[in-house]
């Protein structure tokens, strides 16, 4: 229970920091690093949930763009080549998961009729 509460606290703190990052990034940061965002405000509402979830990545990309470290050739090199390898791995993993689930599925004795339990006597 303590671990569960700790995980939820972590999520809560993550969200608060994400909210602060979203506030800073979407009020002035985004205008500095993307010309298409200047004068465009309505779309920023749709960006907020993404910032909440991946704010460390947002901070890193903001820093890269602000400091001129962005490498343009990388913008045009999507990682298509790993696609086949991923699906070969999934072609093994997904059936393994599914078959394991079927093998482990319990079978109940068909001849035993279900019995309704009575509420405990107070």
């Amino acid at each position: 229970m303590d671990i569960a509460a700790g995980i939820l606290d972590f999520v809560y703190i993550w969200g608060i920091i994400g909210g602060l990052v979203a506030l800073a990034f979407l009020t002035f940061g985004i205008d500095r690093i993307d010309e298409d965002a200047r004068g465009a405000y309505m779309f920023r509402v749709l960006i907020v949930p993404g910032v909440l979830l991946i704010w460390p990545l947002v901070l890193w990309r903001w820093w890269v763009l602000e400091t001129g470290r962005d490498k343009w050739p990388l913008r045009h090199a999507p990682p298509r080549r790993s696609h086949s390898a991923v699906w070969i791995a999934l072609a093994v993993l997904i059936p393994a998961i599914f078959i394991s689930a079927l093998v482990l599925r319990p079978t109940w004795p068909a001849h035993i009729a279900p019995e309704r339990l009575e509420a405990p006597i107070q």
Partner: protein
């Protein structure tokens, strides 16, 4: 195409696409809830909350399965490209269906104790050391988290901000997410069901996704864009007579980038094959008035400089070309996006032969 970002770039096709998706969801839920309780082990008395949770869960799984089929189908047959056109909206709607499923589960199975329901979800079953009775909820939590990341980073802004490489890498989460969803269903509801129809539906659905991706990967290897090697700094990509007027030949350069070499008005130009919008295959588009149109979402680029026509601002890299007889040679080192390159004329003698 956008000069400035807008929330959603609606057009008539997207309205139709979304209307079909929403109608299909309505039909699926209606069939699941009202027509087929006997087929899906709902003959036992379960309450509306559980019934709805199963319906929305099954719908989310079916939608995710269908979404994962769209990519390989479009690669295998261009007639499936319209399904790809608005796949992002399809994905976002899937997330809402999955959240509804999670909401019904939380508000029934975890709502009637003094503990916080989210906390109860995490500590109610912690048997991580055994397969029978494994806390399958954790697979669903991961799947939902991955879908949330994907849907909330689906706006065009994110692709430009993160770069296609990082954005695509992030969106690779869809694959472990699908495996997690299969595990969530397999170690969850399938453990309980005595009726095998739902089990078959899940098994067949996942099987179709796997087979389609493997077939598409094999197709790309055998009939996809050819890889070329550079000789003395230049890579031979095609015989000039093989390039049809108004179209392109695509080749994979030694560094892994794809180049599209276009022929228009008896001249050749080369740009990156990856559209700056969503990395659609520009080389599969047609050139008209020096503008190639991306077959995925209609973004246009001047093949002579890699720039979208004003007022649009998208740019892709260009490549230098030269001819060695009939062979088109490409300098594998791309020019910065939007760099003008003079088209090279095809010798008249070659034109006559084509």
């Amino acid at each position: 195409m956008s000069v400035k970002y807008i929330p959603v770039q609606w057009n008539r096709n997207k309205w139709i696409y979304d209307a079909i998706v929403l109608s299909a969801i309505g039909v699926f839920l209606w069939i699941f809830i009202h027509l087929t309780p006997g087929w899906l082990s709902h003959e036992r008395p379960i309450n509306a909350q559980v019934h709805n949770a199963r319906a929305f869960g099954a719908c989310a799984f079916a939608m995710l399965t269908f979404i994962l089929c769209i990519g390989p189908l479009a690669r295998l047959d261009r007639r499936f490209l319209p399904l790809l056109y608005n796949r992002r909206h399809f994905g976002v709607i899937t997330v809402f269906v999955a959240i509804t499923h999670a909401g019904y589960i939380l508000d029934w199975y975890f709502a009637f104790s003094t503990s916080d329901k989210y906390e109860a979800l995490l500590f109610a079953n912690t048997s991580y050391g055994q397969l029978i009775g494994f806390p399958f909820e954790v697979f669903g939590i991961f799947g939902l988290f991955a879908l949330l990341v994907l849907s909330t980073t689906s706006h065009d802004f994110w692709m430009k901000f993160l770069t296609p490489r990082i954005w695509k890498a992030l969106h690779y989460m869809i694959y472990p997410a699908y495996a997690a969803v299969v595990a969530h269903v397999g170690f969850g509801v399938i453990q309980d069901l005595q009726n095998d129809l739902f089990t078959w539906m899940v098994g067949l659905g996942a099987g179709v996704v796997i087979v389609l991706h493997l077939v598409a990967a094999r197709h790309e290897t055998r009939a996809g864009d050819p890889s070329v090697d550079a000789e003395q700094g230049w890579a031979p990509v095609a015989d000039v007579t093989d390039i049809e007027e108004g179209f392109a030949k695509i080749a994979v350069l030694p560094g892994g980038d794809r180049v599209a070499v276009f022929r228009m008005d008896g001249k050749l130009s080369a740009i990156s094959n990856a559209c700056a919008h969503q990395n659609g295959p520009l080389g599969e588009g047609k050139v008209m008035d020096c503008l190639v149109t991306c077959p995925w979402h209609g973004f246009q680029y001047d093949v002579r400089n890699g720039r979208s026509p004003a007022p649009f601002t998208e740019k892709v890299p260009t490549y230098n070309l030269r001819l060695d007889g009939q062979i088109v040679l490409v300098d594998p080192t791309a020019n910065p996006p939007g760099t003008p390159v003079d088209p090279i004329p095809i010798p008249v003698v070659d034109e006559a032969r084509t």
